[in-house]
Structure formats: structure tokens, C-alpha cells
């Protein structure tokens, strides 16, 4: 450990390298498009329960959506070369975004049910569209948090 005088420079170099790694975390167009379609499918749920004929199962759509989401995640990992650990709401930096996603989902779904119940279909469609936009904005915010954590070293100096 002779080059102690150069050690602060090594730490600075590591910051630059981490910033380079964080810059790889960019969402490709197909991931954004796929996420928007999946979100739209989720928010179309309240319409399906009312307008689809009785007895039509919705679970195959749900299973297909989960499979597509997993496939997209695998593709994103392949493209970026970075596999992130699974994080729930206990992960502090991502908590505000996670809570916002949940709140938007619950609020939009309930509002849709209410509006469809009162035959305000156009308003329900508008709410669903706004919810998709909000969820996509949350996705971008979550990505920004991830990039910031990768730059900062996720707790390690």
C-alpha cells in the first residue's frame, strides 16, 4: 500500500466509474411502450368487468400480462447488463415512488368503478388515461432513484 497519496484520487475515479455504470440504466423505447400497454390493460380492468359477457375468464389476460412483464424485465437486464435486487416498500429511497404508484392505482381504479357505475364512460376513460400517464411518470422517477443510488454507491462510500 505504497501509493497512499493517490488514494483520494482512486475514490474520485470510482465515483466517475459509478456514474458511468448508472448511465447505462436507461429505459429502451420497447420497455416504455410495453409498460404503457400493460398499465392500460390494468386500468381497463374495471371496464371489462362491466362490458365483457358473464363467464368470460379474465385470469388468462392477467397471467399473460405477468409473463410479458417478466419477459420485459429480463430484456431490460440483458440490454443494460445490470440486474437490480428485488426491492419492496422497505427500501427507503424508493419508498415515496412505490407509495405513489400504489395510491395512483387504488385511486384511479376506485374512481373508474364509480364513474362506470354512473354511466360516465368518457370521464372513466379520461381517468384511466391520466392514471397510465401518472404511472409512467412514476416509472421514470423510480429509474432516477435507481440511477442516483448507483451513482452514490447504495450506501457504500
Amino acid at each position: 500500500m505504497g501509493d497512499v497519496a493517490r488514494d483520494p484520487a482512486a475514490l474520485e475515479l470510482l465515483r466517475v466509474q459509478r456514474a458511468r455504470l448508472a448511465d447505462r440504466m436507461r429505459l429502451p423505447w420497447w420497455y416504455l411502450a410495453g409498460s404503457a400497454i400493460l398499465c392500460a390493460l390494468v386500468f381497463a380492468g374495471p371496464f371489462s368487468s362491466r362490458y365483457l359477457p358473464q363467464g368470460v375468464p379474465t385470469w388468462p389476460i392477467f397471467v399473460a400480462a405477468v409473463a410479458v412483464a417478466c419477459l420485459m424485465q429480463w430484456g431490460l437486464t440483458r440490454v443494460t447488463g445490470i440486474k437490480l435486487p428485488f426491492r419492496n416498500l422497505r427500501y427507503r429511497p424508493g419508498r415515496p415512488v412505490g407509495i405513489t404508484i400504489l395510491v395512483v392505482f387504488l385511486a384511479a381504479s376506485e374512481t373508474e368503478f364509480l364513474l362506470i357505475g354512473r354511466d360516465l364512460i368518457v370521464a372513466a376513460i379520461a381517468v384511466a388515461a391520466l392514471a397510465v400517464v401518472a404511472e409512467m411518470a412514476c416509472l421514470q422517477a423510480a429509474l432516477r432513484v435507481t440511477r442516483r443510488e448507483l451513482r452514490g454507491g447504495g450506501g457504500a462510500a
Binding site: 483520494p8 470510482l14 459509478r18 454507491g153 462510500a157
Partner: protein, 127 residues
């Protein structure tokens, strides 16, 4: 976590590899690690083998089609060592910047008469 230097990850290339793996990702792919660290394929292969032999890095090899893919991640032991080493480096950086600050304060800029002199100039030729 105790701040202590680790001779195995002190060389700059190994420090880069370990520091990048400790950034928050679970697994990092060979090309991503190589590009971020700015090193060649052969250097990454060689240094990662040293780290793998020491039990600091876990390596997973696979293939997508015909292309081989290698993924790296830190083991628990490796993460502990890296965090300790980075904390030691951060302490060193703090001490280094503090000493630089002291030197700047001790040597005022030419013409800066308001700056108090903390270190007296050597009294050459005084009897």
C-alpha cells in the same frame, strides 16, 4: 462496519471492480463492468479470477444463443471487505482535504494582506 484497508482490493483495478459491484446492483454483466471500469477484457478476466479465488466475487456463466455471458456479484465477505476499504479511503480523503485546507490557509495569496498568517515564515538571517 469498521474502516480498514484490504490489501487484496487496494490495487486500482480491483478496487474499481469491487466498488462497481458494491454500487447497489445485484449482478453486473461482463461488458457493463468492463465499460464502466474502462479496462480491457483480459484485465477484467484476470482480476476477477483473483477476486473469485479470494471468495470476494461470485461468477455466473451462461449463454444467450451462441454468445457467452458472464455475470458478477459480490459475496457477503466481499461486500464487507469493500465497504471497510471504501470507508478507510473516505477517511483518508477527509484527512487529505483537511491538510490541503490547512496548507492553503497557512500560505495566503500574494497581495492578500487580510489573510492571517498561521505559520510564521522561517527567520532566516536573524540573530
Amino acid at each position: 462496519m469498521t474502516a480498514k484497508p484490504d490489501p487484496l482490493i487496494h490495487p486500482i483495478t480491483r478496487l474499481s471492480i469491487c466498488g462497481l459491484l458494491a454500487a447497489g446492483a445485484d449482478w453486473v454483466e461482463f461488458a457493463a463492468l468492463r465499460d464502466a471500469a474502462g479496462i480491457s477484457d483480459s484485465v477484467l478476466s484476470k482480476q476477477s479470477r483473483v477476486l473469485e479465488d479470494a471468495g470476494y466475487v461470485e461468477v455466473r456463466k451462461g449463454a444467450v444463443g451462441r454468445r457467452p455471458r458472464t455475470w458478477f456479484r459480490l459475496t457477503a465477505e466481499g461486500r464487507q471487505a469493500v465497504e471497510g476499504h471504501l470507508a478507510w479511503l473516505a477517511q483518508l480523503e477527509e484527512a487529505f482535504s483537511a491538510s490541503t485546507r490547512d496548507v492553503r490557509q497557512a500560505r495566503p495569496l500574494p497581495g492578500d494582506r487580510d489573510q492571517p498568517r498561521r505559520v510564521l515564515p522561517p527567520l532566516l538571517g536573524s540573530s
